[in-house]
């Protein structure tokens, strides 16, 4: 739970200056893409993520079974031709559940990270742009949110809001926006004094227009990096909550609740734990690789 937050703030500070354009023939994003392509590990990460997203989306075409279809005659079956990854204690096909669980886990990860990024950008943007007392208030709120031990609160919140995907997303987002807020605030403090902000004002632009059209786009690169790392963190958090039994509720499969389910049979059918564990591991690792690659690609100080 902690790496969800620390990862977002600490690791991406390096990219906070990233929105400066390069001088040359190509645009900023073209240069970033050219650099990103050279980052092998990030390419591997991105490929794994795309693969998992594809298998999640096309799950119905990849398996003959339904995720809640049980076969009481074939419980805890070893991997075989008809059940490539075996079955669990109720006779669910594990491969099928893994695919459908990917839908839930990735959805939770992406939406939680997106919500957190939007919220963080909003809070940080307003805070840094207006400064003074509003900045003080918003940054103290951020400090408070950083200081609350997330896990116990998540558990309590998840009990009341949990179970549904939406509930989990909300609960996770609430504890994931602060790193982004601080990042964006820092950038805003620099950006709001830039000449082009004054020039936009002199053309008759309103505060909102200057903030969201002129300044925020200049601060997007670090937000993107932070957001990517947050996706991995959110998937990990969802798995943690589901493992504790307060996340996504069965029969809806998530990698977390599949793990929880498997713990009773760890000595008899260990593969039940290995598959979802491996999926979580690979996905989170891939997001971290991707984030790393994005940071390097978007950081103008690292010339390639």
């Amino acid at each position: 739970m902690t790496d969800l937050r620390q990862g977002a703030s600490g690791a991406v500070l390096a990219a906070s200056l990233a929105a400066r354009p390069e001088v040359g023939g190509e645009g900023y994003w073209q240069i970033a893409w050219r650099r990103f392509k050279k980052h092998r590990v990030a390419i591997v990460g991105a490929s794994v993520i795309l693969l998992f997203m594809a298998t999640a989306v096309f799950a119905p075409f990849l398996t003959r079974y339904e995720f809640d279809q049980i076969d009481l005659y074939r419980r805890k079956a070893v991997p075989s031709f008809s059940h490539p990854l075996g079955t669990d204690e109720l006779g669910h096909d594990v491969f099928t559940r893994l695919l459908y669980a990917g839908r839930i886990s990735l959805t939770v990860g992406f939406t939680a990270a997106l919500t957190a990024a939007v919220l963080g950008t909003l809070v940080g943007g307003i805070s840094g742009f207006y400064g003074r007392w509003l900045d003080n208030v918003l940054m103290r709120v951020t400090d408070v949110m950083f200081s609350i031990p997330a896990l116990p609160v998540l558990i309590v919140l998840a009990r009341y809001m949990g179970g549904s995907v939406l509930g989990i997303v909300l609960v996770l987002s609430v504890f994931a926006w602060m790193g982004t807020a601080r990042l964006v605030r820092g950038d805003m403090l620099r950006l709001r004094t830039q000449d082009f902000a004054d020039a936009a004002r002199a053309l008759g632009a309103s505060d909102a227009r200057i903030l969201f059209r002129h300044l925020v786009p200049n601060a997007l690169a670090p937000v993107l990096v932070a957001g990517t790392l947050t996706v991995g963190g959110a998937i990990l958090s969802e798995a943690g909550l589901s493992f504790l039994g307060i996340g996504i509720q069965p029969p809806t499969p998530s990698w977390g609740n599949m793990l929880q389910n498997a713990q009773d049979f760890i000595w008899t059918t260990p593969w039940l734990a290995v598959w979802p564990g491996a999926m979580i591991f690979l996905t989170v690792l891939s997001f971290n690789f991707l984030g790393d690659g994005l940071r390097d690609a978007l950081d103008p100080r690292l010339k390639v």
Partner: protein
């Protein structure tokens, strides 16, 4: 004479800092007529730019505050308008060009988007029409291949071209006043001349009035109709451009004229104005130029001189033109004025 478009009356803009009150603009008055160019001249820190930002109501507040005065634009006091009414004037009726073309454009938006923004904001045009007009403006400021270049980003433009883009942005809504705050200072000399020519050409074409803020007296001599010389936040001399260069009346103006280098004359060295401009926090009680003034009299360190009329449309804040000066002092001053005029860029 054309009608008065902008009338600044006793404008005072102060900044309230921890060290004290900085009187950046302290009692500035002038009138700007339709189609006319007014030059505001002075060294760094004389309040030139702050006065421009005051007209646009862009003074960061706090610490800044316009504490007194009126800025009458077509008869309405801009200082009394609401922020929203003011937004409709900025970029639409009064536009501004800044000193730094390298940083005044947003690096993440295309040139076209940035020019079209003002047009959509003020003219109520749709995206397509605004974009067309943006391309037209880019052609007007003589950017080659304008129709294609609207899609480019600022980093693909040189400094001079960026200033052209800034001009296109500023003029896109046909403002009646253009405030150009040292528009050529950041550019190299050959580009300076081109940009200046472009601005004056477009000014004539659009029949705009212009406030040209500069410390380049050569530029003033070439482009302006009237001149206000500022020192330490105050207008020390107001005159037509001819009078400024042929019959200057304030010792500070003389000093400025003496510091202009000349290309075709062998001058051993320039005559600088001795000393430093005063801190705007605690100005001396008398004339703020007195400590540096070679003609300073007893009265000058005691009282702040009011504006004395010294000719038609010509006024100077200097006791040399008052009854406090003896006939000898007046004669010496007249001689110094003529000497300075002979030195100036005209």
């Amino acid at each position: 004479m054309a009608e008065v478009l902008l009338s600044v009356r006793n404008l005072k803009t102060y900044f309230y800092t921890d060290e004290g009150v900085v009187k950046a603009v302290d009692g500035l008055s002038y009138e700007l007529r339709k189609g006319e160019t007014l030059g505001i001249v002075g060294e760094s820190g004389s309040g030139k730019s702050v006065h421009a930002l005051s007209i646009m109501r862009l003074i960061p507040q706090p610490p800044g505050k316009i504490v007194e005065g009126q800025i009458l634009f077509n008869g309405t006091d801009l200082l009394k308008l609401s922020e929203e009414e003011m937004r409709r004037i900025r970029g639409n009726r009064i536009a501004m060009i800044f000193q730094e073309p390298m940083t005044s454009l947003n690096p993440v938006l295309t040139i076209g988007e940035q020019i079209a923004e003002a047009i959509m904001l003020h003219q109520g045009l749709g995206k397509r029409d605004a974009w067309d007009r943006a391309a037209e403006m880019l052609e007007k400021v003589q950017i080659p291949l304008a129709r294609q270049r609207v899609r480019d980003y600022p980093h693909q433009f040189s400094g001079g071209m960026r200033q052209r883009v800034m001009i296109a942005m500023a003029l896109s809504c046909n403002p009646s006043i253009l405030i150009a705050d040292e528009p050529t200072t950041a550019l190299d000399v050959t580009i300076q001349a081109q940009i200046l020519e472009l601005i004056t050409e477009l000014q004539r074409e659009l029949n705009m009035a212009m406030i040209l803020i500069t410390h380049n007296l050569g530029v003033v001599a070439e482009t302006c109709d009237d001149v206000v010389v500022m020192y330490a936040g105050r207008p020390v001399e107001r005159a037509t451009v001819d009078a400024t260069f042929t019959d200057p009346k304030h010792p500070y103006t003389w000093g400025l004229l003496h510091s202009v280098p000349k290309l075709y004359e062998r001058k051993e060295r320039l005559i600088p104005i001795e000393g430093q401009p005063p801190s705007l926090i605690d100005l001396p009680p008398g004339c703020s130029f007195a400590p540096r003034c070679p003609f300073a009299m007893e009265i000058c360190v005691k009282a702040d001189p009011p504006e004395y009329p010294v000719g038609a449309n010509h006024a100077a804040r200097c006791f040399l033109h008052s009854e406090y000066a003896t006939e000898d002092e007046k004669r010496a001053a007249a001689a110094a004025g003529l000497a300075a005029a002979a030195y100036g860029p005209r």
